[in-house]
Amino acid sequence: MVPAIQIEQVSKSYGALRALDEVSLTIERGEFFGLLGPNGAGKTTLINILAGLVRASRGSTRVMGHDVVSQYREARRALGVVPQELVFDPFFTVREALTFQSGYFGLRDNRDWIEEVMHYLDLTVRAETNMRALSGGMKRRVLVAQALVHKPPVIVLDEPTAGVDVELRQALWQFIRRLNRDGHTIVLTTHYLEEAEALCGRIAMLKQGRMVALDTTQNLLRRHLGCYLELRLAPDRLPETLAPLVAQRRVDGYRLALRDYVEVERVIAELRANNIEIQELEVMHPDLEEIFVQIMRDEDRRETIDERGNRTVVREGGHERY
């Protein structure tokens, strides 16, 4: 089956700036895929290339098997994009905006589907309101609706819940999950790692235009650390021997990073040997945020090693393994 998205050795330069550097990625149909990375990593550039808003300097990109430049018509029909910024046309009402969007895609009579989408996104009550008069949250819902009017099999959302209140975030998550269950391929970029962890089956991490991680969420979570140990001690000090394990010094305690659950016992033994009472102890699983920070830090380290020569990155075992 033709993959939903195929990105092959895509690079994009703006003069001297390398926004994307030989990124390759395949997203299968029906996946819920996350694209993570710090600001300036190239996530939006990659999405823009997918959508045909930006032309890659090198490499090829396909949506549902159609090249985004030479077969732009089929590629664009297959893709729905929810942009990051709350853009809108101030001349139109919600219904008009959706009707025009349908028309642009060549859909003459899309009224029923438009009503359905508005209903799912709770927009019906504001259907005749001018876009200008809507709150930020509603504008965002209209953007999602606009991406869906032509029923694309692949939907890309660029930071869909940025700056959104908790209620709307939950509603959007539910809605996007439902789209995925209905068979749509979803690609999500986000800064909220909690969101990526909750929604995405597979994740790619970008840093400064390069892909530095690509794996299922589960594997990523299992990869780096054993666990964390949150401790509150009396007296509030840690024996020297345990100092290397400290990940964070809290106001009233410590957070230790342990490679293995087995080490929990060693910590407790050390504390007892030093007559330190454990007032509170919590074992925590690493979340995606920690993995992310760890991976980004590792990347930094690998780069510094090579800075004397060319800006290359030492890869652990060839291009496939991260």
Binding site: L53, V54, R76, R77, V87, F100, F105, G106
Partner: protein, 260 residues
Amino acid sequence: MSGPPVYEPLWGFYTLFQKEWLRFWKVSVQTILAPVLTALLFLLVFAYSLRGRVEIFPGVDYAAFLVPGLAMMSVLQNAFANSSSSLMQSKMTGNIIFVLLPPFSYQEFFAAYLLAAVARGLVVGAGVFLATAGFVQLRFEHPLWALAFALASSGVLGVLGIIAGIYSDKVDELSAFQNFIILPLTFLSGVFYSIHSLPPVWQWLSHFNPIFYMVDGFRYGFFGQSDISPGLSLAIVSSSFFALSFFTLWLLRSGYKLRS
């Protein structure tokens, strides 16, 4: 979601045209009434001060001479303004994304913006004629020539507007284009005077102003008189239109500035 979508050919183009049409029609006070009023004011001021004292074409009242030129000037300025401001504003607000994501061909994109610009130009031109009808007696010696010039000329300015809209990144740049190029060229094209009344150097320079041919040819349609043969003028205007259109289509295909 229910059944797969059914795409109608050219409906995308038609929708884009419709949107561009509505864009100026919804604010018609600003986009149509205001330019008509401006033209009317020019007529009143100039006719009042020069009527009876100046006769450019024999047997033609100065005010009557002025009207077609004023109409054409309005047509040109508004055709340019429509496409340029639409693209510029879309880029600035970011909502250009809505017309870049859909699958129209660059030809459809071009045609929609061009036709809407021509439409606005012609509507304003018609408005000028309607508004001035009570003040002057106009002749229509060669109405088909007049129509041909109106179409070709508004086409040229519509295309120029697309180029300006694509190129400009800031409102300043577009204003500069409008105020330092379009406006002087339209004012100094023989709308208010015959170029024969200018000193020889300026007469000669006027021949390099493409708008001169547009106004001269358009007036021929009314009075049967012109400085340049209408056939030659129309050839110049039409070839400008085709040359500029090819250039613009090439710009759009290359994704210059819109898909960089």
